[in-house]
Amino acid sequence: MPATLYDKLWDEHLVQTDDNNESLIYIDRHYLHEVTSPQAFEGLRHKQLKPWRLDANVATPDHNVPTDRGDSFNAASIEDEVAKIQVVELDKNCNNFGIHQFDIASNKQGIVHVMGPELGYTLPGMTIVCGDSHTSTHGAFGCLAMGIGTSEVEHVLATQCLKITKLKNMLINFNGHPRRGVTSKDIVLHLIKLIGTAGGTGHAIEFSGSYISSASMESRMTICNMAIEAGAKVGLAGVDKTTLDYVKKHSNLSDSMFSMASEYWKTLKSDPDVNFDQTINIDVSKIKPQVTWGTSPEMTIDFDADIPSQEDINEANHENLLLAKSYMGLDESKTLQDLSFDRIFIGSCTNSRIEDLRDAASALRGKKISKNITEAIVVPGSGMVKAQAEEEGLDKIFLDAGFLWRDPGCSMCLGMNPDQLKPYERCASTSNRNFEGRQGNLGRTHLMSPLMAALTAVNGKITDPS
C-alpha cells in the first residue's frame, strides 16, 4: 500500500500500539535546553531513574542566555540571577546524568534547532523531540520531529519513547518560482494566512512541490519551523540530493556508514500515488512579501495591502481583530507603510542561519539604518553561523550599517533574556510569533523576512523589496 513520508517514519519507529490506539514511538534524538528540562530531570531523580540512552541526548542553553557575552563568559557571568540558576541547573543536570552539552562557554553553542543540524546531530529518518514547539524545524531532513511538554521530556529521558496517537496527513504543494524579494519566510507566512493558526491542527504537514525541490536546506528549515504556527506540530519534507549533500557536509559519519545510510535515506519520501487527508496547492510565483499586522501569525497581509478596516472587523464574529488592532496601535493606520519602526531583530530559530544573514546583509551593504531606529540587533543562530558570517565579512556590513552584532541565543524572539522591547515599541522581527507581549511587555511585533527587516532598518518603514 502506498504510504506518506509521515506514515513511513511512524511505522519505522513504532514499538507498539495499545488497545486505546496510543502508540509507543522510539525516539532517536532528544535535544534539551535550560528552560523546559529542569522539572524533567527532577522527575527522574524523584523516581530514581537514569536516562535510557545517554548518546541520544544533546543539550545546550539557548532560551535565556544574554547575547552580549563576548569572550571568557560563563554561566556565573549571567547577571539575571533567576536565569543564571536555570543555566547552572542545566550544567549540573548534564554533568550528573552524563548528557553531552554545548555549554554557554562553548564556541558551538547556539539555538538548539540551528546548532543540531549543523553539527550533524540531525540525520534523515530520525525521530527527534525537544521541549520546544519549533522542533518541527528538523522535519526538513525527512525526520519525524515535534515539540513536547516537560512531562514528555521526562518520559523520553526515562523510556526513550513517546506515547502518542497518530496524526493525519496534510500535503502542501508549493510550486513555481518566487518573485524577486520573496523568501521562504514570506511563503510560510502566506500559508499561515491562508489556512490559519489552527489550519494544521491534528496533522503532520508535508511540504512538497517544485519550490521545495529547488529550495536550500536553510529555506526548508524555515518553512518546517513555522508548521507549528499553522497548527501542525509536525512539518516535514522528503529527502533528496540537497538533503544528502547537506548531511554529507555536516555529519561525522564515515564514508561507508554514510553510503549505507544513504540507501535507506533515499526512500524517505511519500509514494507517488498516496492519498493525503488534505492537499493544498499554492503557486508561489503569486506571493508578495508578507508582513504580520496583528497579534497572531495568521494576521498576515501583503506588505502593500490594507490593514483590516473597522468594516472588515465588524463582519467577523469575534473581537479578535479589534483587540489585535488596538494592541498594535494601528487605529490611525491604513497600511503597513504608514508605520514607523523603533527596533529591528534579525535572529531566532526561524531566521538566524547563514543564508538569512546573507539576505539581510545584501540590503545593508553601504547603507545606514534609519535614525528613527533606536536599536537594531543581529543574533546569529549558533557559534558556527557567527564564525561563518565573520569569515564572509557580514559582521562588518551589519556593524557599518549600525546594527549590533551579538552572540548566539533565542534572544528577542521571546524576550527571556535582556533583549526585550519596551512598552509600545514597534519591532520588525524575523522571528515566528507576534503574540501580545512576546518580545517584551506591551511590545509590538511585526514578523517578516530577514530581507524585509533589513530594508525596514534602512528606511524606518516597510518598503518594497523588489
Binding site: 533567576v82 515535534m146 554514510f258 503574540f435
Partner: protein, 213 residues
C-alpha cells in the same frame, strides 16, 4: 476513583487563539519548579504592572476589568474559550499555571496539539465541543456566573438543571486524570519490548548509534 466529577464556576474568555504566551508569559519560565505558577496565570491581562518570579499576586497592581480579578471568578474552576486554545509554545508551564490557579477543566472548540497533550499529564481536562455548542455555552454563562458539572465517567457536561452536552475524550487519557496515573510508570511496564526494538534498530540502522560526541 479520585477525580471523577468536576463542579465549578465558569470563567469565559471570548477570544480565539489564546496562546500559551498569554496563559503564562516567558518571564516566569525561568522557574525550575513544577508548581507555584498560579499567580502568574494570564499575567499580561491580569495585572497593570510588570511582574517577576519572586512577586505574588498580592504585590501586584490588578486590572479589575479582567475576569479572574472579579468575584466569584477568582474561584473559577472551569475555563470556557473559543477556538485554538493553548496554541503556540510547548511550555507545560501554561497547564501548571491553570492548575495552580485552580482550573480543573478547559472547554473550547479546538486546542493546540501540544497543549492538549500536556493537560492530561497534570489533571486538567480539555473538552472539545462544536462551535455551535460553544456559542450556546457562552450564552448560558454571559448574563450571570454559571456553574457547570462535568462527569468524567459519563463524559457529560451539565450546564443547567435540565441540559447537558456529552463530550468525547479518549478513555486512556481520562484514566490518567481519574486515577492520577503517571506515563513513565505505565511505559516502563513495556521495558523489554523497548529493549528488543532498540536492539533491532541498532542492527538495522547502525549509523544512529555510531555518532561520537
Amino acid at each position: 476513583m479520585t477525580n471523577s466529577v468536576i463542579t465549578g464556576i465558569v470563567a469565559t474568555f471570548d477570544r480565539d487563539n489564546i496562546d500559551t504566551d498569554q496563559i503564562i508569559p516567558t518571564e516566569y519560565l525561568k522557574s525550575i519548579k513544577k508548581f507555584g505558577f498560579g499567580d502568574f496565570l494570564f499575567d499580561g491581562w491580569r495585572y497593570l504592572d510588570e511582574g517577576r518570579l519572586d512577586m505574588t499576586s498580592e504585590d501586584r497592581s490588578k486590572n479589575y476589568d479582567f475576569i479572574l480579578n472579579r468575584k466569584p471568578f477568582t474561584n473559577a474552576e472551569i475555563l470556557l474559550a473559543r477556538d485554538n486554545f493553548g496554541c503556540g509554545s510547548s511550555r507545560e508551564h501554561a497547564v501548571w499555571a491553570l492548575r495552580d490557579f485552580g482550573f480543573k477543566a478547559v472547554i473550547a472548540s479546538s486546542f493546540g496539539d501540544i497543549f492538549y497533550n500536556n493537560c492530561f499529564k497534570n489533571s486538567v481536562l480539555p473538552i472539545k465541543l462544536s462551535k455551535e455548542k460553544i456559542n450556546h455555552l457562552f450564552e448560558v454563562s454571559s448574563s450571570s456566573p454559571a456553574n457547570f458539572q462535568i462527569d468524567l465517567i459519563a463524559k457529560d457536561l451539565k450546564f443547567d438543571d435540565n441540559s447537558s452536552y456529552s463530550f468525547d475524550v479518549k478513555d486512556s487519557l481520562l484514566d490518567r486524570i481519574i486515577n492520577n496515573l503517571d506515563d513513565v510508570d505505565i511505559t516502563l511496564k513495556h521495558k523489554s519490548d523497548i529493549e528488543i526494538f532498540e536492539q533491532k534498530r541498532r542492527n538495522q540502522r547502525p549509523w544512529l548509534f555510531d555518532y561520537s560526541n
